[in-house]
Amino acid sequence: MTVLVSGILAASLAACGSLFFVYRKEKGRAGYLERALDAKNQRHDTTITEKITLSKKQLETAFDAITDLICALDSDLRITRVNKSYAAFVGVPIPKLLGRHCWEAFWSRAEPCDHCPAQMTFATGKPVLKHQIKMPDKDRPRYFTVATYPVLDAAGKPQNVIEHIRDSTDEKVILEQLIRSEKLASIGTMTAGIAHEMINPLSGISGTAGNMLQMPGKYGLNEKGVARVTAILDASSRASAIVKDLLHLSRKEDGTSMLMDVNSLVLKAVEAVRLKGLPSVEHKINLDTALTRVLCDPTKIQQVIINLVTNAVQSVLEKKSNLAREHRSFSGLILISTQTEDDKVRVDISDNGTGVADDIKGKIFDPFFTTRPPGEGTGLGLSICQKIVDEHQGRIFFESTESLTTFSLLLPAYRPRPESAQEFA
């Protein structure tokens, strides 16, 4: 900041000084008007040349300073000028690029690219802008935005084309994420609507099926009929489970929030997992007794913790059964801890189970992603967790190595605002 201010100051001082200088010079010249006028014309010519040189230098500096890639092409698509960034990107010094075809030098092709924007500009005399031009690469493809501008001669015909190439690979990734979250948001809204509309008939279907099973005589139902209606009831029950999960995923936060001790939620979650009837796994719970309270929807946060603990238990059990098949023993362990970390409350749930394989690390929070066999879980668990945590302005993330997987939950610790502190005390 200081550097910037002093820089501006120096520039303004310099400007004032030169003004003053010009003023004195003009005053001294007043007596020799004619000669001075003549000299002035001469000086005028020199000034124009100087100015053009200066301007050229400025443009060249700008040309080279631009981090985007710029080149000038002739009608044969040969490079006539390039900037430093262009040469640096291709990895060839500027002189060695001149005269080469752009499609060969830059795009490593044997012939001009399809729908070449430079060719289009030569043909039409108009600028062309192309997004997302893909350059295949063995590691990962790169994407470029290419803009071409004509340099017209006196007759209005393009003599050269200036090609401006911008590496938009990262933008594409961000854009894709944005589109994805936008899509998810609109899918969410749509899903909520659909899910609600589904509950109505599902409730009717399962309720009617329930009636038929309760009073088969009333409906003239024989044994086979009862069996079929039982199947209907089962199917509608499965559909309801999916709809319920979808609703959780898409539902907007409805504002239930209470000041809660996260430790109590952790204990309740562990108890709830125990009650689910999962085989017990050795676990250690290490709670920070001085934990700051959190303003949250307790049932939802509890649901997140239940989900994470259940995943941990299942992961440990899975590893155990995998190793048992190889006649190796394994003792599973789950560690659960809470702590205050700056202005956040942190919950860590670690297990030494199967871990998260590298190739699925980016996917586990996606809706419907599941590693479990079809029919066991809808694959919505972690995406629901993510949504709940987002609603609480928190963060959920994980680290997984071969020996330990830790899912962490960060929730904003509650700090009473100063004006309400008194009333709160």
């Binding site: 109505n200 329930g210 309740k268 307790p298 309400s420």
Partner: protein
Amino acid sequence: MYSILIVDDEVSIRTMLLDYLEGTYEVATAENAEAAIALCDKRSFDMVISDINMPGMKGPQLLAEIKRLYPATHTVLITAYNVDDYVRLARRSGVSNIIPKTSPFNFGELDALVSGLLSGNIFGLVRYMQPQHYTLLGTFEIRSSHDAKDVREAAVELLTEKLGAAGDMRLILDEIVTNAVYHAPAFPDGTEKYEEFSDVTLAPGEYIHLECGHDGEKYGISIVDDMGRLTKDTVLFKIERQMSGEGVLDDSGRGLHMSRLFSDRMIINIAPKKRTEVILINYFSHKYRGYKPLYINEL
């Protein structure tokens, strides 16, 4: 025989309710509010059960209108949407019972609600349990603030011992019993007799009664006081206030709200100035998928 009118635009729900209730009750159906009002013009009903979201006039308006025309008619809402979103609307329409359309539909609960409202026989945990499977686990009486803690612990211990689970009952009982001990007893002018968290011995005639029991699918606790100071309006107001987040930093209504949040079912029965009963129920497993209902019965 009591008569019931069912209003829902979803035919499968209408027939489902009709099939289940007919025989015990005289049942008529209508597919929208206008048809329902036309039916009510011709004959009277003891109860109208209406869907909330229907084309044309919505359920809450219909029931408010019916209450205006026929004050003796019991009104109940039913919805596939989140019950919590409709508490304010229901309160404005004078409705305090909202049944969620769960899947599978919870007929036992419907039974208890409908028969309770129609007969005026609303009190008792057993009414909300499957009668043939009901097991009474224990009863307790609270006569002082000191008792309150012991009874709470004893009830939780009993549930844990017999059923292996008590859910969040310790937390909930703490709130509900505190309410009953400190906020229920009052002087005739309405001011509360006892200061919160002070040592209190209840006067003769002031009693708080606890009952625990279970059936094949759920367990429950009923907490009864003989003072009946709570009203339907107060309960609705407090719950709604906590739901909307307005009550986050104070205690008013927190107990009721938390109890509803942390149990699967909270049923509140009120005989004004005579008796208040809070029933808390947890299911052993979540068979009924859907939202939580709102059940407040006031005689």
